[in-house]
């Protein structure tokens, strides 16, 4: 019964959770904002704390590393999104086919998602991408090619590969449930209507998946904007793999300047919002159908 009474009771019951979540979000946000306007060096007693005005913001943005780091962030996020969506759709369609050992194969596909980012980055770095002993190096040599020093010669590509491997299961899982919810009679109807497998994919399956793709894009973007462990473990931010998150970490670490780092954090929030609004515009309209 959605009466006036029951609704206000519901609000009252929900209040603790809402307040907790709000505090959870607001406290760090406010603190970041507060520190970004301060000179704050908790580990350096020689520097006097005090009000900084916009100087932290100016210093952060005028650093020569700022714009390249934004660019790297966008390249990595974009690259991972494209790879996980394309391969995710392909894998989902494949896994939907009846086959022997379906349950086990599905679990195997999901497995990478359970591996911690640090661990997976280490495994990739030492077991796959190592130029002398890595699996990929052996593969290259098998075909008579010169092994690639992945992390120094193609560092961004390497990181995109590692992160895509981690996020592919997530995309596949969501897209698989979407594929399974497609009405079989629709496919049969399109088959009778003379649609080839390719146009069936394009006209029936892809539009059906658009909503799930939107969700995958939005959720992954949120998480991908803040990837850190994979970069820390592999390149340490060298060779142009410094993302905005990583730049903030370096700034705080090298100068113990929490104020400067906080200013970078505020820029990261702005970037995330721009990306989110942009994505909502192009794919978000799929959601309100």
């Amino acid at each position: 019964m959605a009466t006036q009474h029951s609704r206000s009771a519901a609000r009252f019951m929900m209040a603790p959770a809402v307040i907790l979540l709000l505090g959870w979000m607001l406290v760090p946000l406010t603190m970041t904002l507060w520190f970004s306007f301060r000179n704050y060096f908790p580990l350096r007693p020689d520097r006097v704390p005090g009000w900084a005005g916009f100087s932290n913001f100016e210093r952060f943005i005028s650093s020569s590393a700022f714009w390249p780091s934004v660019q790297t962030t966008l390249v990595i996020v974009g690259g991972v999104l494209v790879i996980t969506i394309v391969l995710g759709v392909a894998l989902a369609l494949l896994l939907d086919q009846p086959m022997w050992g379906q349950g086990i194969v599905r679990i195997l596909v999901i497995a990478p998602f359970f591996v911690m980012p640090t661990v997976s980055a280490l495994v990739w770095k030492n077991m796959f991408m190592d130029p002398t002993n890595g699996l990929l190096a052996h593969l290259w040599r098998f075909f008579g090619a010169e092994p690639l020093a992945w992390l120094s010669e193609a560092p961004t590509v390497s990181i995109v590969m590692i992160v895509s491997w981690q996020w592919l299961p997530f995309a596949t899982l969501i897209l698989l449930t979407a594929v399974q919810s497609l009405d079989g009679e629709q496919l049969e109807a399109s088959e009778m209507d003379g649609a080839s497998p390719l146009s069936r994919f394009y006209h029936i399956i892809l539009p059906h998946l658009s909503r799930a793709i939107t969700i995958v894009v939005l959720i992954q973007t949120i998480f991908l904007l803040s990837i850190f462990a994979e970069i820390y473990v592999t390149t340490g931010g060298a060779f142009g793999t410094r993302t905005l998150t990583y730049l903030i970490f370096q700034r705080v670490l090298e100068s113990q300047n929490v104020g400067l780092g906080s200013a970078g954090g505020v820029y990261a929030i702005i970037l995330a919002n721009i990306v989110a609004i942009f994505l909502m515009r192009i794919v978000g309209k799929n959601l309100d159908r």
Binding site: E188, A189, S190, E191, M192, D193, G194, A195, P207, S210
Partner: protein, 333 residues
Amino acid sequence: MGQITLEKVTKRFGDVEVIPPLDLTIEDGEFCVFVGPSGCGKSTLLRLIAGLEDITSGVIGIDGNDASRTPPAKRGLAMVFQSYALYPHMSVRKNIAFPMKMAGVPQDEQARRIDSAAKALNLTDYLDRRPGQLSGGQRQRVAIGRAIVREPAAFLFDEPLSNLDAALRVGMRLEISELHERLKTTMIYVTHDQVEAMTMADKIVVLRAGHIEQVGTPLELYRAPRNLFVAGFIGSPKMNLIEGDAARQHDAATIGVRPEHIDVVDDGPWQGKVGVAEHLGSDTFLHVHGTGLADIVTVRATGEVGLRHGDTVSLAPRAEHIHRFDASGLRIA
């Protein structure tokens, strides 16, 4: 053209033979209805004809050509599904245009055919809506529209009206019959509603467990059911099937008398007590107990009858309408 022949067609799912060898010819322009109890293989048979399932053995001919291995799109048949199977992200116009787009029909020809289909099916005002914004009956018409524009050799309908309410069902039934009169295209129609079967069909095929029990016009099946199954299946309310002495008097193992062929008389051969009396206004269905013939004998009396629960009645079957069946259930001529 749209003559469809099935020769020794069989279908197995794994070890289960759903359709044992089956022969059937559907003539060009015929309205053919498949009826039978649930699970008897009506949908399977229709899907075999459509090409959505592969036949296990046998030959399916369309207009004299072997189409057994032809892919569905090439058979020139259009199907209307029970769930309509409209494409939810396309407007009604795009839905109807889809088969033509796939076939590469030129734009202006597409527009012309959409127009005429929309007019014929009263869809002109809805062409720019999505299927989700339509009522059940309108969706049904869109599905039919999508089938019409292909100008198929035959239409296949799988219980197209079962999702509609009773009033709409009567309306759509008439529209489909009307459409058949106009197009004169072969139609194969699956239903388990025998009113639909009786009113729409030129030819009814009664199926049981994949076997054809009888093929004939509605009235042939009504007048001369070939066996007990068809006798019990066709006609509403069901035929009364009576065994024992009453049957032996007619030299049969079982006799069947339809409710409408039993009269309430002052002094008839059968006596019983009235149980439930269903008053429909035009008719009254009396369920008579304790006749010693069968558990319940159903009687259809015309008009309003002044009989109540517990009254004793005397019944007389009309001799010329008694169907006789032998011990194996076959009709005795």
